[in-house]
């Protein structure tokens, strides 16, 4: 057996170059599902838009320990955020994407049509 290749690009890097004028970048990836296809959405708000997004981000319990997902073929959501020098990341099983998490994801999806790139 040959050695498996190096990791392909996974997750969503949130670096300062990608952030908006106020240093805000939010990226969402949805993986899994029976199709196993990953879709990605992102926003990089600038100017007066940033405050609205910061509120959405700060409403999320980033230190929350989420239980593992149950069953099979459910989606897994990865949310990565950079606000200036502050960074957050959370992986959320579909059945736990509720409340402020759902509000944040819905807002990002509404602002960005997304891509299906793997």
């Amino acid at each position: 057996m040959s050695e498996p290749p190096a990791d392909p690009p996974v997750g969503i890097p949130v670096d300062s170059d990608a952030a908006g004028d106020d240093g805000v970048a939010i990226r969402v990836a949805r993986s899994g599902g029976i199709a196993g296809m990953t879709r990605r959405w992102s926003v990089q708000p600038s100017g007066g838009e940033a405050a609205h997004w910061i509120v959405l981000v700060e409403q999320c319990p980033w230190d929350e320990k989420l239980p593992r997902g149950t069953g099979a073929d459910r989606y897994s959501w990865r949310i990565e955020v950079r606000i200036r020098r502050e960074r957050h990341e959370q992986v959320i099983p579909e059945e736990h994407l509720r409340g402020p998490w759902r509000a944040l994801v819905d807002a990002v999806q509404e602002a960005d049509a997304g891509t299906a790139a793997l």
Partner: protein, 369 residues
């Protein structure tokens, strides 16, 4: 009168003789219980009459006339299906729209789910003498029209759930027998080895669900291994998508190639094994490797894949497999089961696993994993 306790060999007959609730009338059971000629049927009938009858177990009674003009009664396990409708919400289970004894309804998705559950139940029974996903007649519950434009079907640990698709890429998930069989297959895995849904055991979990899905379609259509498409989810994409299915078990990585979706990313062997933290460690990607091993094995054996090839995989799954099994450990289990069938069957299994790089061509099944 001739009593046949179902089709199949002695093991199946013995199992089916224990399945008795519901449809067989008590007067017939009482008559059978007194029979001196049909001793096995008589014992089954006596047990039926004295045992409490779990409500979820069902049986079907078939009557026919054999070549000697005798009345033949066949008692066989039967599914107990309930389809619910979420009406575009994400609330489960939704409202019940069709149960086992009710006729078809106007909603195509409901009937497709109902029929797909029945096809899977029958394949499990005919191929593996398994009465539903838990082996004990567990009711089969499904929900259709889940979510708004929901691009997925899943198993939540208790029921199958089907979205309608967004209409642009996916056009509903109940149209594919392989998808329905796949979701029920997750139920079988949960009630047997309980493979972890992460990394290699997770990819095995996904692969076994694909195996059950493919076998369900092939059994329904009466296809031999060389006649089968080995596609999972054919008909799920809209015509706008450049693709024929979600996955190809025989040729992983070739199911679709679309400007928007990209190319099917499944690896066909261990040289393409994907390391990722997404999708629970790429469980839907790396499943292509054991998928191809099974398809190669089945095609090499020929005939109906649910017979020898399917039985070998099923016995490996149900024969004490660890929940954290690696590809190599599962390969070893299947090879042992194949060797028990015949030396040539064992060789075919070794060749299949070697072809996807899980064991060395020399037959050392400990080589990878």
């Amino acid at each position: 009168m001739t009593i046949h306790e179902g089709r199949g060999g002695p093991q199946k007959q013995a199992q089916q003789a224990r399945i008795h609730q519901g449809i067989v009338p008590s007067y017939l059971l009482a008559k059978l219980a007194e029979s001196e000629r049909y001793t096995r049927a008589a014992e089954a009938a006596r047990q039926t009459l004295i045992a409490p009858a779990p409500a979820e177990h069902r049986a079907q009674l078939s009557l026919s006339i054999d070549e000697n003009g005798s009345l033949v009664a066949t008692v066989e396990a039967a599914p107990n299906r309930t389809i619910s409708d979420a009406h575009g919400t994400e609330t489960l289970p939704g409202t019940v729209v069709r149960t086992e004894d009710e006729p078809t309804v106007a909603d195509v998705a409901v009937n497709q789910a109902f029929d797909g559950l029945g096809a899977t139940f029958q394949m499990l029974l005919d191929a593996f003498q398994r009465n539903s996903i838990d082996g004990r007649g567990l009711p089969l519950d499904a929900t259709v029209h889940y979510g708004s434009g929901y691009d997925n079907a899943f198993w939540n640990g208790e029921r199958m759930v089907f979205g309608d698709g967004d209409g642009q890429v996916f056009q509903g998930f109940t149209a594919s027998t392989t998808v329905i069989g796949h979701e029920l297959g997750h139920g079988v895995v949960q009630h047997t080895a309980g493979l972890d849904y992460e990394g290699q055991p997770g990819a095995l979990n996904e692969s076994l669900a694909d195996v059950f899905g493919a076998l369900t379609e092939q059994h329904l259509l009466g296809q031999t291994a060389d006649q089968a498409t080995w596609l999972i989810g054919a008909g799920i994409f809209t015509p706008a998508v450049h693709g024929k299915a979600l996955r190809s078990m025989l040729h992983p990585g070739t199911a679709y190639h679309d400007p928007e979706l990209g190319k099917d990313p499944q690896p066909a062997d261990m040289s393409g094994y994907v390391k990722t933290t997404d999708d629970n460690g790429g469980v839907h990607l790396n499943s292509g490797i054991p998928n191809r091993a099974f398809a190669l094995f089945a095609v090499e054996l020929g005939g109906y894949a649910w017979e020898t090839a399917g039985s070998v995989w099923y016995r490996a799954l149900t024969g004490g497999l660890s929940a954290s099994a690696t590809f190599a450990q599962f390969a070893k289990a299947t090879i042992a089961e194949a060797d028990a069938v015949s030396p040539s069957t064992g060789d075919a299994a070794r060749t299949a696993w070697a072809s996807v790089g899980v064991i060395k061509a020399t037959g050392d099944e400990r080589a990878a994993g």
